[in-house]
Symmetry: C2
Subunit: 311 residues, 2 copies
DNA sequence: ACCAGGTATGCGAGTTGTGCATGCTACCCA
DNA sequence: TGGGTAGCATGCACAACTCGCATACCTGGT
């Protein structure tokens, strides 16, 4: 039993609508003979029975033809709908994008990128979620996330993902306004070896500080605070100092001072957009990468972000 | 934008299921190269974007491919379902048949045919309705009926329908048991010119009697009774005589006698199965014609039906 | 460095689809 | 009653497509 193409089905429907091979041929841009043969082929593919009664003036559906009609309509409609859907995915006038980001990215980078993306592609349904990097990678694997904004801080195995480098963010220390070093443009960490530290983890190895630990410096973590807004509070109260990445540097309360850390003490932290490996990124993912870059450029122009948004 | 065939869609689905062109080619009985080209063509027909990521070991769906999947499944399923449906119509393992019949046919002919049809083709949904011939023709026109069992008694315009001759039924007079002619094998109508007549219409022209009216005979209609069971009652009570067609002759009460009418007085009435003109009859209609003929043969073997079930 | 498993592609042959011209049938109208 | 006409079917030649074969190419594992 032969093959059926949308062409034959469309011809069938047009003939059924117009009641004539000849006029259907005209509206479809074929000759009458082509239509005649297409219908004949379709009749063959459908088991052999005639779909039309050939009358002296045109044709009319047989019982079988009438029965076929809804199926043919549905099949053609599905293929058309598929074309539209794929087109929407390609033209970014539809579809869905699920983005994850680590917490600090939520301060400025992600809101900025989301706003930009929404204004450019309002019909793409964009969802974001904040996760630890480790969780995000898992969700990329299980196809619950299309793109994840991650940093390589925690030493998670990023190498089995497609990485799109976004920016290298330098580090700052947050100092209370009255701290002796609060007016400096740059500090070395050894200068803060005797201060109390505020960190996201009791073991500094598992926090932002991990890259700073060396022979000459091991911070004394006195307060364990995860939220950046709370860290600010502790710092402002003079309870200690904290390391914070450039991405979070723009939303700082006026009684907290940020001072750059020397690059040799804490290397700039790379921020990537990660996507599943070996999978060609969808247009929506590509577009979001673009808006992420645009967001970083925009932020670099007006902020302390180091601006090394190379690529 | 090109054409899409069920073949390409089936190939697409099989590749998606197995994750490899090669293995899909094996299960479908094609070569790997054919599958590769079919997918390539499908990608073209769907707008150009890739549907699969080509990995070193096999392929995996892209976002677009994942989006296409449900549409492809639906389209293929619809075409398959259509094939099954049409096959059911052809093999009489499905579908529907709407039959109409004039009242007298409901006495024996239709029940017999319906029983036969149901036992042979139990999966065809058979509906019957009793109508005047005039109504039935209208319902054939409006496609509310597939086949109508009619007689040409009433002079309705049968000529614009496809007529399948079933039988010529001769006519009988129903006489009360004590009627002087009740033991005859045949009568002439003039012999009954002085009797009271029972008919379905006050004007004998519009009833079974219309063919009997001539120079020498005009019946005096005294009782107007439509239902055959009631006519029997009137006749049995000695209130008159009635003309009845052979099709109804088998269900007569014992105190009513039937006597054949001479053929010259009332010509045998032709009974047809009528179908819409110019329309090739569906297999179900053909089959019902067959069972009608079988029913008539069966009845002729054991009844007064004249048996001229010619063709 | 080679092999294994997979996809892409050039090539030739067979098949299918298309258009043109023509044949055929039934209706319409004079 | 006989041409005219509208419409489908079909023979034919040609173009386009599809398929299989052989082979090139890529990548990961040994």
């Amino acid at each position: 039993m032969g093959d059926v193409s949308t062409g034959s089905l469309a011809a069938f429907l047009e003939v059924a609508r117009l009641g004539s091979f000849t006029s259907a041929a005209q509206t479809l841009g074929y000759t009458q003979s082509a239509i005649s043969r297409q219908i004949s082929a379709l009749e063959g593919a459908m088991g052999g029975g005639p779909l039309f009664d050939r009358l002296p003036r045109g044709v009319r559906l047989t019982e079988a033809g009438r029965a076929l009609m809804p199926y043919a309509e549905a099949a053609v409609e599905r293929v058309d709908a598929a074309r539209h859907e794929l087109n929407a995915l390609r033209e970014l006038t539809g579809g869905r994008l699920r983005v994850g980001a680590f917490p600090t990215a939520g301060a400025e980078l992600l809101p900025c990128a989301v706003t930009l993306f929404r204004s450019r592609y309002p019909e793409v349904k964009l969802r974001t979620e904040e996760n630890l990097t480790r969780v995000q990678l898992a969700r990329l694997d299980t196809d619950e996330l299309d793109l994840a904004v991650v940093s390589d801080t925690a030493g998670d195995p990023l190498d089995s993902y497609e990485l799109h480098h976004l920016v290298d963010e330098s580090m700052y220390v947050a100092l209370p306004d009255e701290h002796p070093l609060a007016r400096r443009r740059q500090v070395r960490l050894v200068e803060l070896a005797d201060d109390d530290w505020i960190s996201g983890s009791p073991q500094p190895e598992r926090s932002l500080l991990h890259a700073a630990i060396g022979e000459t410096f091991r911070p004394r973590v006195v307060h364990v605070v995860a939220e950046w807004i709370a860290k600010q509070g502790y710092v402002a109260a003079g309870l200690g100092v904290a390391l914070i990445p450039a991405l979070a540097a723009d939303c700082v309360r006026p009684d907290v001072r940020l001072v750059a850390v020397h690059e040799d003490d804490v290397p700039a932290r790379a921020v990537y957009a990660a996507t599943p490996q070996g999978r060609s990124p969808s247009p929506a993912v590509e577009a979001f990468l673009g808006t992420l870059r645009a967001a970083i450029d925009g932020m670099a122009a007006q902020s302390r972000l180091s601006g090394k948004s190379a690529k």
